[in-house]
Every structure is written in structure tokens, then in C-alpha cells.
Amino acid sequence: MTTINLHLQQVKERTTESMEEMWVNMGPQHPSTHGVLRLLLKLDGEVVRECIPYLGYMHRCHEKIGENRAYVQIIPYTDRLDYLASMYNNWAYCLACERLMEISIPARAEYLRVIIGELQRIASHLIWLGTFGLDLGNFTLFMWCFREREMILDLFEAVSGQRINYSFMRIGGLALDVPEGWLADVKAFLAWFTPRLSEYDRLSTDNIIWQKRIQGVGILKPEDAISYACSGPMLRGSGIRWDLRRDDPYGIYDRFEFDIPVGPNGDVWDRFWVRRQEMEQSVKIVEQGLKAIPPGPVLAPVAKKLRAPVGDIYSRVESPRGELGHYIVADGSERPYRYKVRAPTFVNLSALPVMLPGYMVADAVAILGSVDIVLCEVDR
């Protein structure tokens, strides 16, 4: 508490607080902070003048734990980073290890990773769209998005036995091959899902209240987005066509054709629209993957006890929320010497104090929602 009071004192010195302005504590138990984020907002009536985010309520020493585990043992911990896109975390971590240990994985595993990864992106964006609907007061959108997300979770349950924390990927491929008929199920899901997108549009995109609420709000200029190192839909919403799947291809993404949607204005609407279109692109990628997937093994022959050669690696992937990087320093033992995660939501969140001031409380909720934070990943 004392550090916070000290900080408040400094803020008070910097800005002369008049009678009309008041500090409001938003979170960590607020319904719209998506977890345990705490924002101190200085309000002038309804208008936000200043915003100070406080993090760390979910800190659980992910990186330090990683330094005391064997390489394979870290995989279950990565599930708990961004728990809305666990498959992608698994992938990102395994990819870093594979690059470090120079393991190449079978073609079928590569294709399955892309299919599963893109399904995970859809699931993650669905959660985002649903909770963003909640932020704007549309509860029905939330339920509809969760309906389709459940189907993706069913698909993931079929392959991994888990619905949230999959731990499905392994260094060198996948834990198991997918069950018989699973690829046909994916196809059936895509056929069901594509028309649902226009159903969501009827509740959100086409609705004038929805448009008026988020257009021209929370503008993040391209230069700000770059200087704050934003990535993912945050960066693309500000008009910068940067997607690691295309600009720094990993896996077999160079074999797929897809567009990278960008928004011209950098407002909440653009970030919303980028994510909305990315779902369509993910459907396209999965369809291509389903057509081209070869038979074969899914796990490369790797040693039981993995030892990485001395060296370090920074490996990054385009997670649903942006650039998810894993930095591993290896000293030749069974455990990483240093293990660091570059969490996209943590970096994206740092741009929040730039976007908030001057908008109203209701906009603050929409802007925070458009950042798409997952506090488990922010705090690690």
C-alpha cells in the first residue's frame, strides 16, 4: 500500500487535482478488467484524465519455475500462460526448443500444428469477441460466441483429453495422432462456423449502437504502436501489416495462402474488425491444411532426456494476441539456464495509458477490451 500511496502522491504533485476530479479504483475485482488487472483512473466527471495500471496479482514465477524443470516438464506450465490459447503456447515453447536442439518434426505434425493452432486462434478470438460484447453491454453475443467455442473445445478434448490445459504438443511433434474421423469433424465444424460469423455481424458489426460506440475511440497512432512494441491485432489495427506468420514464417506457414487484415485508423473499431476478419482467414488456413495433410508419424524420434547444446535462442510466433516469444539460454544441462517469455498482452497493455485519456469511462472499458488481455500471461 505504501508504494501506491507514494505513487499517488507523485501523481498529485504532477497534476493539480481540482475538486471535480476524483480517483476511481477499477479492479482487481471489477467485471470488465478481464481478470485481476487494477486500473487507477482519474475521472473528471465521466472523462478519464489519467490511467495507472497495476499488475502482478497473478504473478506465479513462471520463468523461475521453468529454470528448475527439465525441458519437457515446462510444457504443462506454458498451458497456464495464455489459458485461452494454450495450444499456441505449447507450440511456441516446443518450437523454441526444437530450434535450439535442431530437431526437425514430421510433416503430419507440422500440418496438425497449423490446423490446431488456427482453431485455437478462432477459439481465442471468439472469447475475445464475446467478452468484448459483454463490455459493450451485449450479453447475447457472449453466449453465441461461447457456443461455437465449446465446439472447438470438444475437438481439442478429442485429441488431448483436455478442454483448457492441453499439454498436447511435444518437443519434436505431437503427443498423439488425432483420432479417426477427427479431420472430418473439423471440416464439419468449419461448415457450421462460417455462416455463424455473419450471425455475429447482425448483433455487432451491423448494429448502429455498436458502430457508434467503438468508431473513433481509443486511437493508437502507428508510431505509438511501434514505439510501444505492440504486436498482433493491436499493431495491425493501427494500419501496420505485420504478421509473423508471413514476415518471419515458422512451421509451414509459408505453404499457406492467407490475407493479413489491417485497419486504417487505429481505433477500437479497427482492432475489432481485424480480429473479426482474422477468424475468416483462420478458417481459410484450416481448410487448406485439411486438404494437404499427409499421413505419417507425428513425433520425431527424440531422446527421453533432452539436453540442449550450449547457446541461446529467441523464437517467436504469432499467437492470437501478438508476438509470443520464448528466450531460452541453455548451458548444456537438462534444464534451461535462463528462460524468458515475451508475453504479447503484457507489451500491448503498456500502450493503455496512451489510449485512455480524454475518453469516457464507458470507452475505457471498450478500449481495455480491445487490447485483449489475459492476466495470466501478463503477470506470468
Binding site: V24, G137, M143, I209, A362
Partner: protein, 350 residues
């Protein structure tokens, strides 16, 4: 409800027994009030259950299914009992008398409006000759209770919610009243039964004689304002869950919260009942009993309100003000002006 003659006989009976005149009158008043409270409670509980079912079906779920058997019909009763039995919590820093009074004020204001709602011919507690004016005046008292709740809670979120509510209620009352003036000009009376009886005939021999036929714009303005008056989505910014947690009643729990909840649904019924009375011909309708028609029309409007709530997003506070002052108010004035002109031109000189 009871004809005046029967009442006089009832009073005379008591006087014959030597009981002071005030006693039977108080007894009648108490009876009427308990009937109204009973009706409000049952109707609000039904509405809550109904809203949960409608919203569930809009959202591809079932809603309450367990309590009471068929489609969880007893869910609201169970919830009410639970709220009754909960601990009564008053925050230490709260302004106790204001905090305790606030839900009572809100509920009393919505209770009082039921006095002049015409459920059917003769089915009206007191047919005041200023009926509609009375409703408008009394229902604006709700906002006093809301401000008391926001202030008394000593909570910033509650205060923000109360301030929003005050701004909203004041803004939306203006176009609401002016939109009602159009139909009232045609009727020429503020008495609720007169308004209903005016709509008895037909327009051009085919359309029902309802005022919505000649005053569609007024109806739209009224209904929009009514949604805002009752703090419902898309105008629910005083209790915006995702912004203010739940606005002015954030510190309330147990029965006090239940009373706020009850008052909200009671208010919804009132605004829809006024819309039915003024625009949809009140109890008028073929075949069915008048009160059935009245409830059918009112519940249809309530359904529209629930439907809106579960499919729209919330507007922002400045957009809310913009709609009230720059869109609805000018439109209401245009409607009133045209209506006044037509009444002047078409009515026989004399």
C-alpha cells in the same frame, strides 16, 4: 373495482355499529394497497422469470429449468425467498437513514403510479381527472430514490451511477411528456378512462381506433424514452454492469436489493401500461375480456423491451444525451406542432 353504491352501503354498515368512520375507509385503503402490492410482486416475479426464459432462448440456452418442475416456474419465488433470508448489510461508511430510505422511496414511487392504471372498465383504483399527469409526476420521483441510494452508499461507483441516472431521467422526461401531448390533444382529456374510450371506434372504418395509427411517431418517441426511463438496455447506463459494476445499487444486498429489482420491473410494467392505454387502445378488443386484452398488449410491449435488451449494445452517456436533446425532443415538438395544427384545422369552429 366496486361500485360507489356498494361502498356507501359498506360504510353505512360500520356506522350503524358505532365504529368511527375512519376505520372502514382505512380498511378499504389497506385492502387496495395490498392488492396492488400483490399484483406488483406476482407480475414482477413473472416478468423476471419470463425475461430469463426469453433471454435464454435468444442465447441458445434454456434458462431456469429445475425449481418447481415445469420450466422452472418457481425460480423467482425461490430467489425472492433467498433474498428475504439474506443478511441485511449496511456499509459502515454509509449514510444510514438515506441508505435505508432509498429503496422504499423508489418502490413507493412505482407503487403509487398503479393507482390510475385502467386494467378494464371499472378496474381502476381511482380514475383521477389528471390521470396521465399524475403518473408522469409520480414516476419522476423514482430518480430521487436513486440519487439517495447513490449518495447514501458512499461509494464512487454508486455516486457515478446516481449522477448518470439523474441526468438521464431529467433528459428523457422532456421528450416523453411532449410525445404524450400529441395524443392527449386529440383526446382532449387527461383522464385514463377517457383516453381509452376515445380509441373505441375505427379509423377510416378498417383500422382499429387506436392512437398509434394516427400518432406512430409519438409512440416511437414515447417507447424509446420509456426504455430510458426504466434504465433498461440500451439505455441502462446508470447500472451499466461492465462499467459501474452495477451503478447506484452496488452496495445493496438482500431484501433491499430485491426491492430495487422489484421496482425496476414494476416501472417497466407501468410504462408499458401507459403505452397500452394511450397508444394501443387500452382494454379495447373483441371477444376476450377487457382486462385480458389490456394485459396482452402490455405484455407484448414488455416482450419488445426484453427483446431489445438482449440484442442491443449499450449506448454511451454522451450519445444518450445527444439522442434525447437533439433527436427525440425536436421530433416530439414537430409531432406536437403538426397534431395541434391538424386539430385546429379539422375541428369544427365554434
Amino acid at each position: 373495482m366496486v361500485s360507489a353504491g356498494a361502498l356507501e352501503q359498506f360504510y353505512a354498515l360500520f356506522e350503524a355499529w358505532g365504529i368511527p368512520w375512519i376505520v372502514p375507509r382505512l380498511a378499504i385503503m389497506l385492502g387496495v394497497v395490498s392488492i396492488i402490492i400483490g399484483f406488483i410482486s406476482v407480475s414482477a416475479m413473472f416478468l423476471i422469470w419470463w425475461e430469463r426464459k426469453i433471454s435464454a432462448h435468444i442465447q441458445a440456452r434454456f434458462g431456469p429449468m429445475r425449481v418447481g418442475g415445469w420450466h422452472g416456474w418457481a425460480q423467482s419465488i425461490a430467489d425472492g425467498l433467498k433474498l428475504l433470508l439474506k443478511e441485511d448489510i449496511i456499509p459502515t461508511r454509509a449514510d444510514r437513514p438515506v441508505f435505508i430510505l432509498a429503496p422504499i422511496v423508489v418502490f413507493a414511487a412505482s407503487l403509487a403510479t398503479y393507482v390510475v392504471i385502467p386494467f378494464g372498465p371499472g378496474l381502476i383504483v381511482q380514475d383521477l381527472n389528471i390521470g396521465i399527469l399524475y403518473i408522469i409526476a409520480i414516476s419522476s420521483l423514482t430518480v430521487v430514490g436513486i440519487i439517495m441510494a447513490g449518495w447514501g452508499s458512499n461509494n464512487k461507483y454508486a455516486a457515478l451511477g446516481a449522477l448518470r441516472s439523474a441526468a438521464q431521467a431529467v433528459s428523457y422526461e422532456v421528450p416523453l411528456v411532449i410525445s404524450l401531448l400529441g395524443p392527449l390533444l386529440l383526446v382532449g382529456s387527461l383522464r385514463m378512462t377517457d383516453i381509452v374510450e376515445y380509441q373505441g371506434g375505427t379509423w377510416l372504418g378498417i383500422l382499429p381506433g387506436w392512437l398509434i395509427v394516427v400518432q406512430p411517431l409519438a409512440f416511437l418517441i414515447y417507447f424509446t424514452c420509456a426504455v430510458a426511463e426504466t434504465n433498461r438496455l440500451p439505455f441502462d447506463i446508470p447500472e451499466a454492469e461492465s462499467e459501474l459494476v452495477s451503478g447506484f445499487h452496488v452496495e445493496y444486498s438482500g431484501m433491499r436489493f430485491a426491492i430495487f429489482f422489484l421496482a425496476e420491473y414494476a416501472n417497466m410494467f407501468v410504462v408499458c401500461a401507459i403505452a397500452t392505454t394511450v397508444f394501443l387502445g387500452g382494454w379495447q378488443g373483441p371477444l376476450l375480456a377487457p382486462w385480458v386484452w389490456f394485459l396482452l398488449k402490455t405484455y407484448f410491449l414488455l416482450f419488445v423491451m426484453i427483446w431489445l435488451r438482449w440484442t442491443l449494445a449499450r449506448v454511451r452517456v454522451d450519445q444518450l444525451m445527444h439522442v434525447a436533446w437533439k433527436v427525440l425532443l425536436p421530433l416530439a415538438f414537430v409531432n406536437l406542432g403538426i397534431t395541434g395544427l391538424l386539430v385546429l384545422v379539422l375541428s369544427p369552429m365554434g
